[in-house]
């Protein structure tokens, strides 16, 4: 194997709190190949987002470091585009202008005005949002806004696409729809993707590889599972597929047996998303 595309070595992250330093991540080591689709899964509070933010450059690791294509990551940059959970579109700009802001910044010198225009349209078409180019984020649904967020990230031509629970805030049907779109786009562009998710089905369906993280504090990589399923993948046929079911079980076992999180339901009522996800994932029937 040639040199890895993206490499995290001995990453440790600690935060200063009034009660002393809190170690969130402990010695994370990861090597990711070009074009690989990697999911990070783990219970909430295990530091998945911290890993993603370190790769994005939004956070600086306390120890260790992160190398992308031979360069150390010290600050954020468009070659590591981020798709945020709540789309993070500028509410005062139209869909087109939101993508334009990114394209303008990244390709100001390398593209002519016409090229930039058609590149923006191309990316909006890629996520099926060209029809709403003149709408503001407040005028479109959450799923549509998330598509635009993805288009904006893709329009930066990133070498790594970072997605922080990109479909977490969407309803199940919209989520399935967007997952299919993402698979198609990924097939076409072959981006390297790191995605955080809480959803076991989403992880198995989309990923080439699932990184399961142990519970924090001092979270680390627990298991590293390669998903060897042929693409294109179809969620309906896969639901019965024994390999798929096996992978799914592996992840569930890790999350609910090996890394079982013991917490009473009542004091965590504000964290309802985690609660519902857990119920759904432990339910025997697979989502169709």
């Amino acid at each position: 194997m040639s040199k890895p595309h993206l490499e995290l070595t001995g990453v440790e992250m600690s935060f200063d709190t009034p009660k002393g330093s809190f170690i969130a991540l402990d010695n994370i080591n990861l090597k990711i190949k070009k074009g690989e689709f990697v999911s990070l899964i783990g219970h909430s509070g295990c530091g998945k987002s911290t890993v993603l933010n370190i790769v994005a450059g939004l956070l600086q690791a306390t120890k260790g470091g992160c190398i992308l294509d031979g360069h150390e990551i010290n600050s954020p940059g468009p070659e590591r585009a981020v798709v945020f959970q709540n789309h993070a579109l500028m509410p005062w700009l139209t869909v087109y202008e939101n993508v334009e802001l990114a394209v303008q910044q990244v390709f100001r010198k390398s593209m002519t005005k016409q090229e930039r225009q058609s590149w923006i349209h191309h990316n909006l078409e890629l996520v099926n949002m060209a029809h709403a180019a003149t709408k503001r984020p407040g005028e479109i649904s959450g799923g549509m806004a998330q598509r635009v967020g993805i288009a904006r990230a893709l329009a930066m031509k990133p070498s790594v696409l970072l997605m922080d629970e990109p479909f977490g805030a969407l309803d199940a049907l919209t989520r399935a729809h967007l997952q299919d779109s993402l698979m198609e786009i990924q097939q076409e562009l072959n981006n390297t993707v790191i995605m955080i998710t809480h959803d076991v089905d989403e992880a198995v369906l989309l990923s080439d590889r699932i990184i399961m993280m142990t519970n924090g504090p001092a979270a680390a990589v627990g298991e590293d599972l390669y998903i060897d399923l042929e693409r294109p993948r179809n969620r309906v046929t896969l639901a019965d597929d024994p390999t798929y079911v096996h992978y799914r079980q592996e992840v569930l076992k890790f999350l609910y047996e090996k890394q079982r999180k013991l917490e009473s339901i009542t004091p965590r009522r504000n964290n309802q998303t985690t609660g519902t996800n857990m119920q759904k994932d432990t339910a025997p029937a697979a989502k169709a």
Binding site: A56, G57, L58, S75, P76, G77, P78, R80, A81, V82, F84, N86, A88, M90, P91, W92, L93, L101, A102, Q105, V106, R136, G138, E139, I140, S141, G142, A145, M156
Partner: protein, 331 residues
């Protein structure tokens, strides 16, 4: 949540059609009455109460003016303005004639062109006040918005400046005025001044008193930009200038506008007080002069000025509201 917003915007989009079909139904009628009839009732009740109560209040200048007297005096003030204008026009024509005659006799003669020496009318004073308040308000905005952005972006600077803001914010215009007057007369010395000193004094006082709400709101708005959007800006590596112009400023526009509306309201209130005390031209001076004049019509004329001040303040706020709806993205 988002689907909910979507539905409501759809309802709004078809609102025109709905209004057409509902025009003569009871609901529409009830709404019209709420929007139009009730305010009219309120005003009429007030006028009636005023009309009945005013004659009961006796002052050394006669009884307090009722709505009828104030209405008559308003007409009178307008008539005086028209008359004054006519006289001013005549004065200009006469002066031109005279100068032409002098020049015809002796082409090398130096002719003098004087402006009309008549006293400013009520309408002139309104115009002066409006110019002063706009100048003071614009200067306040030009200071407060950039300073607010800097404070909002820099927590340390904000911590350092905040006590000063809290202390200067509640200061009355009357306290500033003597200081401003002295400083302006000492520093603004020029053979051919571009502005009157009295104009500068009023304007600076207005600025000093009205910049605080805009300053505070801008700081708050800038500090409260959605962290996700700040991260987007960092990922895009926007330059500081682009970051401020494309992310920070648009994001805080709605809250800045709220501050601007409060500021303009304060500016207008402060101006009248400043003009009264400083004897600088404007509505405040008009009120003070009428008070000193002490004729039997003075109270009616002052009351007309009070109503004009209130109405102009209301219109200024409406203009700001319209501007806000045009510019702010959340309206």
């Amino acid at each position: 949540m988002s689907t909910l917003m979507n539905t409501s915007s759809r309802i709004r989009r078809f609102g025109g059609l709905k209004a057409l079909t509902d025009r003569f139904t009871g609901m529409e009628l009830a709404r019209t009455s709420k929007e139009l009839v009730l305010p009219m009732v309120g005003i009429l009740v007030f006028l009636g109460f005023w009309h009945l109560a005013a004659p009961q209040v006796n002052t050394s200048l006669g009884s307090f003016p009722g709505p009828v007297q104030v209405w008559e005096q308003s007409g009178q003030l307008w008539q005086e303005h028209i008359n004054q204008r006519e006289r001013a026009d005549k004065f200009v024509i006469m002066q031109e004639d005279r100068n032409a005659r002098i020049l015809a006799k002796n082409p090398d003669a130096e002719v003098k062109i004087r402006s009309y020496p008549g006293a400013p009318t009520f309408v002139d004073q309104i115009v002066t006040s409006l110019i002063t308040v706009m100048a003071g308000f614009l200067l306040a905005t030009a200071i407060a918005v950039p300073l607010g952005i800097v404070l909002g972006l820099n927590r340390h600077l904000q911590a350092a400046i905040n006590p000063l803001i809290q202390i200067f914010k509640p200061v009355s215009p009357l306290a500033w005025l003597p200081l401003v007057t002295m400083v302006v007369s000492a520093t603004y010395v020029s053979e051919d001044p571009m502005f009157e000193k009295s104009f500068l004094t009023s304007m600076i006082t207005v600025t000093l008193c009205s910049l605080w709400p805009t300053l505070i709101n801008t700081g708050v708005g800038v500090a409260a930009v959605n962290p996700d959007l700040l991260n987007v800006s960092r990922v895009l590596r926007l330059s500081f200038w682009t970051h401020v112009m494309k992310v920070v400023l648009p994001s805080s526009i709605p809250i800045i506008f709220t501050g601007l509306r409060v500021s303009l309201g304060i500016a207008w209130m402060v101006l009248i007080a400043a003009e009264m005390l400083a004897q600088s031209p404007g509505l405040g001076k008009f009120v003070w002069d009428e008070f000193q004049n002490g004729s039997s019509q003075s109270l009616s004329r002052i009351m007309a000025a009070v109503l004009a001040i209130g109405f102009i303040g209301f219109v200024l706020d409406r203009i700001m509201l319209t501007l806000q709806k045009k510019i702010a993205w959340n309206e």
